[in-house]
């Protein structure tokens, strides 16, 4: 009996970390743009989103630490795990590129994130349901923000349209990973707790297509969606991101302030 509970907890821990890792890594990527926004107002807007996401990651890491026990803290997960232990989707670790790339990556993530949280409100895990109910308010705004920019730039000047189309062509192959179940998302013991990521795909894609159409952007066909991030297989960019994120803990282990 004790063994079964152990197994359940391990799955739940892994699942919670997967959710946290997405928010953490996109938050970190956006934080890199702090001070580099195209105008002051957008600089602040993107940093706000970054802080929202890191805030979401924190409550999930706190939950993970409670599940794992043994004196773990929320900081152990972002600062003390190596590449293969991270379960975020490849989309969020992609480099920032130009403003169009940042907005397109954000928009794709927001389509997924919003639909995911909407479904997670009904999770049988009370804690996850609470986190979703709180976080969806932020995600709703993020989606509005990124949608408006996709439309504004896509349906803007010739130059802004071309840059948005370039960003879309570049990032589209990373969009579907969010809706392809990882090992942990196929775990039956999590039924009722986890979100059915296949089921939310339709809603997320509907939003995605609607905005792209309004923005006069053409969605290219993807023959080979890029995946693997959820199972710990990351792109080459990810190591660089982690070395910056974890620099302090690696150079000065267990330092505190």
């Amino acid at each position: 009996m004790g063994e079964v509970i152990q197994l359940n907890n391990e799955s739940l821990l892994k699942y919670v970390l997967q959710l946290a890792d997405n928010a953490m890594i996109l938050g970190q990527r956006l934080a890199e743009t702090c001070g580099h926004g195209p105008v002051l107002e957008q600089d602040i807007a993107i940093t706000n989103i970054s802080l929202d996401l890191i805030g979401e990651a924190r409550v999930l890491y706190q939950y993970a630490a409670e599940i794992e026990g043994g004196g773990k803290t929320e900081d152990d997960y972002p600062y003390k795990r190596d590449v293969r232990d991270w379960q975020n989707i490849l989309l969020v670790e992609q480099p920032n590129g130009h403003f169009g790339h940042i907005i397109m990556r954000q928009f794709m993530f927001d389509c997924y994130h919003y639909c995911h949280l909407k479904a997670m409100i009904d999770s049988s895990d009370e804690r996850l349901a609470q986190i979703a109910a709180k976080t969806i308010k932020e995600a709703t705004y993020h989606l509005k923000y990124s949608s408006e920019w996709v439309i504004r730039l896509g349906d803007g000047t010739e130059e802004s349209h071309d840059k948005m189309q370039e960003a879309l062509n570049d990032r589209i192959r990373f969009f579907d990973e969010a809706f392809i179940p990882s090992k942990i998302e196929n775990e039956e013991s999590l039924n009722g707790i986890k979100v059915d990521c296949v089921a939310i795909r339709k809603l997320a894609w509907a939003k995605f297509q609607e905005i792209c159409q309004t923005a006069t952007l053409e969605i290219p066909e993807v023959k080979f969606p890029q995946k693997g991030g959820k199972d710990g297989l990351h792109s080459e960019h990810f190591g660089y991101l982690l070395s910056e994120l974890q620099f302090l803990q690696k150079s000065y282990p267990n330092s505190n302030w």
């Binding site: 957008q42 807007a45 706000n48 408006e148």
Partner: protein, 93 residues
């Protein structure tokens, strides 16, 4: 982006009765000005309602005329309702 017009931002705080001017920002249009104002001026729960108006649409009094505009009110304290007993039900005076 250099051509973006300037907008003035007004916020109503949670218990406030009227919108108060808090600053200005650049935006391509009024919708973007609202979004920008949300991100720049309400990060610390400063407001529950935002107004934006293009700065060029505001007509201001001329500072050079301030003597004739405002000084005459200086010695007319009787215009303040401090000489009356206000009923308790009357709020926000």
């Amino acid at each position: 982006m250099q051509n973006w017009p300037l907008f003035e931002v007004f916020l109503r705080s949670k218990n406030g009765l009227s919108h108060k001017h808090v600053g200005s920002l650049h935006a391509a249009d009024a919708d973007m000005a609202i979004t920008n104002a949300r991100d720049v001026y309400t990060r610390r729960k400063e407001g529950v309602s935002i107004w934006v108006v293009e700065s060029k649409d505001i007509t201001a009094s001329n500072p050079e005329e301030s003597e004739s505009m405002f000084d005459p009110a200086e010695d007319k304290v009787y215009r303040h309702p401090t000489f009356y007993d206000l009923p308790n039900e009357l709020e926000h005076m």
